[in-house]
Amino acid sequence: MGKAELPLHAPGTQLDKGYIGESVPRPNAQRLLQGRGAFTDDLRFPRLAHVAFFRSPYAHARIKKLDFAKALKQPGVIGIFDGRAVAEYCTPWVAVLAHLKGIKSPPQHAIAIDRACWQGEACAAVVAESRTQAEDAVQLIEAEWEELPVVVDMEEALDGKTVIHRDLGDNICFKRELDTGGVEEIFAKADVVVEDTFHFGRHTGVCVEGRAILADYNAAEHSLTVYHATQAPHMMQDIFSRHLNIPEGNVRVIAKDVGGSFGIKVHVYADEMATAALSVMLRRPVKFVADRLESFLSDIHAREHRAKVRLAVSKEGQILAFDLDDLTAIGPYSVYPRTSGIEGNQVVNLTGGPYKHQKYKARMHVVFTNTNLTCPYRAVGHPIAVALTEGIVDLAAQKLGMDPAEFRRKNLIADDAYPYTFPSGIKFEKLSHHKALDLLLKITNYPQLRAEQASLRKKKIYRGIGLAAMIEVTNPSPAFYGVGGARISAQDGATLRLEPTGMVTVMCSVTEQGQGTEGIFAQIAASAVGVSIEKVKVITGDTGVTPYGGGTWASRGAGIGGEAVLLAGRALRSNMLDVASKVLNLDKAELDIAGNAVISRLTQEKKLDLAELGRIAYFRPDTLPMDFQSELTVTRHYTPRQYGFTFTNGIQASLVEVDPDTGFVKLLKHWCVEDSGTLINPMLVDEQIRGGVVQGIGAALYEECLYGPDGQLLNGNMADYLVPMSGEMPDIVCAHIETPTLQSQLGAKGVGEAGTAGAPAAVMNAINDALAPLGARVTRMPFTPERILRALNKV
């Protein structure tokens, strides 16, 4: 079913499909453009107190003594609290999930008690009348420490000579093995076996807005209102309620404007839990905004992996089997409530995903280290899985002397093979790898790129073309977290209300952090009800207002929240026609809604303004039949359940030029073909993809949290931790295939993570393609000039 056939109008009519597929500008962008947004740090409250944290300077140390005497005398200081004091109000958590068998982690407290396990862990909280005063007082806390042995390197962590948490017995948080059987036999007989080890630098999200929380406890009501830069307000409501022992109904979480999140703001942070606890303890509002230095030390990190991968291939170029051994370091605690096992688990699930081999063996270890915590960040596990899949696939093509595009065409799962179960157990509803590859080769003008590359090489200009096919998890079902016991909603809801003036208010549990969710919900609601888009107002991010739901993560907002809005919109339309039928004394089947009016389905003639319908329904219901009650507020929910995940697919290409004298990589152009089902707003989709690609380029070329052997973060500031800036970025061409999911009526799959998933692999393959004639190869991200020069034996 193509998008033109989607039933985005009342059943049985062929009225306009509305705004679906239109590049409508986002209504909520206007306030942000004028500096009139309301980010958490912009809010002003009476008696607002500010917290600053005394953080451990050591990666692993016993806290022998904390002396607050001098700090307490500082101007403006309201109180200073250690871990024990805060623990009386906030219970600790253990981040494990039942479906990640054997995962273990010690209890984590809001403020460390007795021992700090990473540099930057909060060990005391200073609350003062201003943040400046709180920071001044932090400097005067006197601490006595006993340094403990530090585990930084993940191979050392796996060896387990030093165990971070003695009670747990070893440093292994989680391990997983998967074996379809028959893999070793295939490797023993295969014509060609290629093997390589890939390293991925630990990096982080760098939201331009730091983490921010303002907790406002009302002692009279024993209620807590939390203004929180979060992606998941209902999840946080549940967590504040349970860990602070406040009834769920007394906790309200409000996410105002959020300045970027990318998965960083969907986790439980100890310092944020402490802030909420401090508000309860002090019976006044308390705010914490992470400054940039503490963001680097305490925002979750991600993607530190060492993965060895082997591929067995026939001489005709058929992939026969994958063999993976992955190791990842997560810091001293698994992060609550998603756990830090998910990223490695996804690497096992997804590696080799686009290809049709049936034999697969994987081994994966997640280990504790004395570095900052890691947890899902945009495209969880995908950049690792795609890079090592596509890196080894390119190596095999090179060894066989085959063109990488041709090699992929031979091995990608056929477009008519669905539904399809991949050897790791994941199921694909309907993918379009071959269509995507064909489109990519067309928009890149691939043969011409190759011809240019060949002619430039004669002039010693080293260009490379890198491809990266990918699959991506979107629209997750309860199989992602709920089945493991996490109280994370896989369903979302939307309430639509017709206002008396004929406007429509939408309240949805999916949140907005800039992706444009509120914009697309307005498009869907306007289309489903039959009103123009300026008549729709969307409210998100408030547990006191919206239906219950999961929020924004795992590329689920459009596919799940959007479907709830569509269903609610259709129901509201039907209820509005019930009213119109009574007012007009006409059969409901003869009526429809378009252009802000009830019209005749047959003649399209306007019958009743929606403002008039609203006036009668709300103010003159006495004129309606006695047995009729209008219902102009409706709520609908949606949960994807037929598949664990609604997979999407895509393919990217990167064109780079490597300077063998300096090791610099110039990005010339980047392409992404993506199949995310029904496109609701192509402009927003394209900019989501581009932003994702640029984050992926950051992983490939610039970004790495560097730790010294003592567990000290060496580059935790924006001057030393590099992210992509406009000057280095290429133009990025996006193109689309639309294979709507048939699980929903909207047909939308997710798209927020596609760019990030594939870009590192595409750039890596492009660099290695450029370096191939020089006999060099790089597999350790980020590919800094130094690493490239080392590969060329020039330094």
């Binding site: 500008p25 980010f39 331009v208 900019e687 581009r690 994702g692 640029v694 992509p724 800036m725």
Partner: protein, 155 residues
Amino acid sequence: MEQSLSVTMTVNGAQVTRSVPARQHLVDFLREELGLTGSHLGCEHGVCGACTIRVDGEIVRGCLMLAVQANGCRVDTIEGLSDSKELEKLQAAFHRRNALQCGFCTPGMLMAAQDLIRNGKKATREEIRAYISGNYCRCTGYQAIVDAIEEVIHG
């Protein structure tokens, strides 16, 4: 005790006088004292550009200048340049092309872009990219921002 000094400056056309701590940064003064929260703090060490404002006609990082250094100066922020409609075309182009997502970097980005537009040169795409390369945007991938600025410069 920290020293406070009296400063007088013209902020978005209106004269304000306040006693400010000597160490207070200009952007903190605007946000905390004047409630002008449109200028954002992204790094507080002069890298991200989210606090970009205009002082006596030149763009500066509000986190690298002290409030007392602005004594006697004319300061313009996103709120003022929005109300005066100076940014109207640029804001419309950003809106039309979705040259923002979360919007946190946007006020600073607009201040930097408008500075380029004001110098009157018909900047190329590469020059636009270079000019805003001191302003982080973690959401968009920059392309729509460059497109929007290009549209305003070249019509």
